[in-house]
């Protein structure tokens, strides 16, 4: 039986499979592991950030700082490694600590000062972007044996495809994220807060620590996404990844997570990322379409999904009202 709460996910999966079949009918080459491997690598940083966004949205919040934190991270790492000669692994560790603390601070403000997430993370967005400019306004190239090694590392899959380190990192984040959401008390508490914070509080859910934890996790994953982005582009640039948070939100919503919180799956976000990647790949294969078609299709899909979610809520409300009426 399909729970009505999983219906958006199933719909997304159906749309993805259908779209993929249509693509393959037109361009049989899109079935190759090479294409799939590239798709995963190209979207690795977005996927990692979207996992963090999934948790935030599941709790009923929003995190607008993601794109800026990614930019800050990439500039920070590039300057540390490229200009100051710090070992990349040290720079990675330092930046993950910074971004996690940044996220926790936003979570604490949301919970303890009672400021809406939208406002707090909007401030965070400006702050992180400003900090990135402060470090450098230039595009800083980065070269280091360790980074080269990570970039060059991959598994060859049958059919000529490459499963790169970045793709594997993203897949790992999705697996761990799905596990945290489904199988830990922290995950259960996030769903509870997203369902109804007041009820969750009355049922004894520790709202404060959980909220701080959610934004700390999103901050950490933004930092990790920033590292992935640095590895992907071999540089750090403070003007990069503007609006990535919006792509992440799009992936989460297309993946079937309710924007009001409480309902959704990490696996859905993965499908949301794949759909975005699929559209980009199709445009590359076609060769005549402008890349802006990606945005247009994403926009249409978002509308479809928001309408679908409304429809489901309306339907379940009506069913509830009917069952109440029967009782009376």
């Amino acid at each position: 039986m399909i729970h009505s709460r999983n219906l958006p996910f199933v719909t997304t999966l159906g749309i993805f499979v259908l779209a993929y079949i249509l693509c393959v009918v037109q361009f049989p080459n899109m079935l190759s592991t090479r294409v799939i491997g590239n798709l995963l690598t190209d979207n690795a940083f977005l996927g990692i950030a979207a996992v963090g966004m999934t948790f935030v949205i599941l709790s009923g919040g929003i995190d607008l700082s993601i794109g800026s934190v990614i930019a800050f991270t990439s500039v920070f790492v590039a300057v540390m490694v490229g200009s100051l000669g710090v070992h990349p692994l040290v720079a990675f560790a330092a930046v993950l600590v910074i971004s996690t603390i940044f996220g926790s601070a936003m979570g604490a403000m949301i919970r303890y000062l009672g400021i809406p997430p939208f406002v707090v993370t909007l401030a965070g967005m400006f702050l992180a972007r400003g900090a990135a400019y402060l470090i450098s306004t230039e595009s800083v190239p980065i070269a280091h044996p360790v980074i080269d090694a990570i970039q060059g590392f991959y598994f060859r899959v049958p059919g000529g495809g490459r499963l790169t380190a970045l793709a594997m990192l993203m897949l790992l984040v999705f697996v761990v994220g799905a596990f945290v959401a489904a199988r830990t008390r922290f995950g259960a508490n996030i769903y509870a807060i997203g369902g109804n914070q007041q009820s969750a509080e009355l049922m004894g859910v520790p709202i404060g620590p959980t909220t701080v934890g959610i934004y700390a996790l999103s901050g950490f994953l933004s930092g990790l996404a920033g590292i992935a982005y640095t590895l992907y582009t071999s540089s750090g640039y403070s003007l990069a990844t503007v609006g990535v948070e919006l792509d992440a939100i799009a992936a989460v919503v297309i993946g079937g997570t309710l924007l009001t919180g409480g309902v959704g799956l990490v696996a859905g976000t993965f499908i949301g990322i794949l759909i975005q990647g699929l559209i980009q790949t199709y445009i590359v294969f076609d060769g005549t379409l402008s890349s802006w078609w990606t945005k247009i299709v994403i926009g249409i899909l978002l509308f479809v999904f928001i309408v679908l979610q409304r429809g489901i809520i309306w339907y379940s409300d009506r069913r509830l009202a009917e069952s109440r009426l029967k009782e009376v």
Binding site: H3, S4, R5, F179, A182, R183, T184, R185, A188, N189, Y191, A192, G194, G195, N196, Q198, S199, A200, E201, L202, M203, G204, V205, G262, V263, S316, L320, S323, R324, E327, V328
Partner: protein, 506 residues
């Protein structure tokens, strides 16, 4: 139940909000193995007391003992740990989670650090089977009826706390069959030694399930009694109070107004709404005060909502000066010259951050239409004249109204309607939460308006107040108009009798 084993003992509990006492010196004792009903009208202090017991509020004064040890629950979670579990009427569980997830939220069984879903399912099924529920615990909570959710909530609370179970209006949205199922569960829990506190306004249910009852009124304890030796009439009079019976009935001379109701300019015939109030006839003449009496939940406010167009009637007609009118919204009621002071003054009446002058001018402005704003100078003059005539204090018309006391806020709302020169003014609990002095002034004002020829409808749970000001009293019970008392019939005893006889019959 033995009287000798107090489980939860509260002594001299006091709590004030912004200097206004909500509870004063209330004693409350719950024995293990009893179902204890907590009764009182709105604002009597029931929910304040419950919130103190369950850790939502902290008490200002008094002591609280659980199993003989002094306790001070600091939060709901804290109270749960101590053994006091609560089930609220609505906001309770999480509809977006499954039944099993709801039952074990925050205490999920774990294996190797991860939630063991199979074990959770097994425990949930076992737990619910003890309550006679055989349902799919993996289904979403939202797929089940309110009655089943209520039992799931009780199962969780008892499993979690295990000593005291507090139920706040648990039966409000259940049908009679579901209520019986719920009561069977409560009786079984009582026999297992649990102490159960139940808040409800259905007296039949109190008599059906509870062993003892504690009645609160105006934040004070009226008494705790065994239900087996408490006649219904006495219980009702405990709730509504009748100590002030010596107040003379000033309007017995107005018997002549009781001629025919046909000539009344404002009439409601067969007016009603399914699920809200059964169809009723009501007429109001100029210079007459019609009182509406009844227990909480009897349909008092609902009657007012219908008369003021807040709820739309689905039967009957409303007539003004012999012509049928349509009351589809408060706006249309205001156009007919009706005014309404709601019961919830803070949320439905005042706009806290607006000045006194703005609040007073609100209804007049609404009637004029927003396109024609009242000039600031006129507004101020209007406000000042009412501040003077109604003796509103402080006299500063520019002050935000939220800084005024309850009585003065109420006067300002009265002024709001008086400014529109209404022909019918409906007052829902006009004296609730108001100090004694302002209380008397508002009653005097009602009389004056009436003498000036205005028609008034006054809803009140203070029977002395009603008998003091009303020429006629309509008695409601169980969402029905059950009696209409006129002239010398208007006494607290007659009102109580009318309510009780209906309650008895139900």
């Amino acid at each position: 139940m033995a009287e000798s084993n107090p489980l939860l003992e509260a002594r001299g509990i006091g709590k004030a909000f912004l200097g206004i006492a909500a509870l004063e010196g209330v004693d409350f004792t719950l024995n293990s193995g009893e179902i204890h009903a907590l009764l009182g009208e709105n604002g009597a202090g029931k929910s304040t007391l419950i919130k103190i017991l369950t850790g939502v509020y902290s008490r200002d004064r008094g002591s609280l003992h659980l199993d003989g040890a002094e306790v001070t629950p600091a939060s709901v979670a804290d109270a749960q740990k101590l053994g006091i579990g609560t089930v609220y009427q609505e906001v309770n569980l999480l509809e977006n989670l499954t039944v099993a997830e709801n039952l074990y939220l925050g205490r999920q069984p774990r294996r190797f650090g991860m939630i063991d879903k199979r074990e959770m399912r097994r425990l949930s099924t076992a737990l619910l089977s003890r309550y006679g529920l055989d349902i799919d615990v993996d289904a979403l909570l939202s797929s089940y009826s309110v009655a089943i959710r209520q039992i799931i909530a009780i199962a969780r609370a008892v499993d979690l706390s295990g000593k005291v179970l507090v139920l706040d209006e648990p039966t409000a949205s259940l049908d009679s069959h579901e209520v019986e199922t719920l009561f069977a569960v409560l009786r079984r829990l009582r026999d297992e030694g649990l102490g159960i506190i139940i808040i409800t306004h259905f007296l039949n249910q109190v008599y059906a399930v509870a062993d003892r009852v504690t009645v609160l009124r105006n934040g004070r304890l009226v008494g705790t009694r065994n239900l087996s030796e408490l006649p219904r009439l006495e219980l009702i009079s405990m709730m509504l109070g009748r100590e002030l019976q010596q107040i003379t009935h000033e309007h017995q001379a107005t018997e002549q107004t009781v001629a025919t109701t046909q000539d009344a300019p404002i009439r409601f015939e067969g007016y009603g709404k399914r699920g809200s109030v059964a169809p009723f006839d009501l007429s109001v003449r100029p210079g007459e005060v019609v009182g509406i009496a009844g227990l909480l939940g009897s349909g008092r406010s609902e009657t007012a909502f219908l008369m003021f167009g807040i709820d739309r009637a689905d039967s009957g007609t409303a007539m003004v000066d012999g012509k049928p009118i349509s009351l589809s919204s408060p706006e249309s009621a205001i156009a007919q010259g009706f005014g309404f002071c709601p019961e919830e003054r803070k949320t439905d009446g005042i706009i806290g951050d607006f000045s006194v002058a703005d609040n007073i001018a609100l209804a007049l402005q609404a009637r004029q239409g927003w396109a024609k704003p009242i000039p600031a100078r006129e507004k101020l003059a209007l406000a000042e004249s009412f501040i003077k005539s109604l003796d509103i204090r402080p006299t500063d018309a520019e002050k935000p109204i939220k800084l005024l006391s309850g009585g003065n806020q109420q006067k300002a709302i009265l002024a709001r309607w008086l400014a529109t020169g209404p022909r019918l003014l409906i007052l829902d609990e006009p004296t609730r939460g108001i100090d004694i002095g302002a209380h008397a002034e508002i009653l005097k004002m009602i009389e004056r308006l009436c003498a000036e020829g205005m028609s008034l409808v006054v809803i009140s749970s203070e029977l002395e107040e009603l008998t003091a000001v009303a020429h006629r009293v309509v008695v409601l019970s169980d969402r029905r108009h059950v009696a209409e008392l006129t002239g010398s019939q208007v006494t607290t005893d007659n009102i109580l009798q009318a309510i009780a006889s209906r309650e008895e019959a139900a």
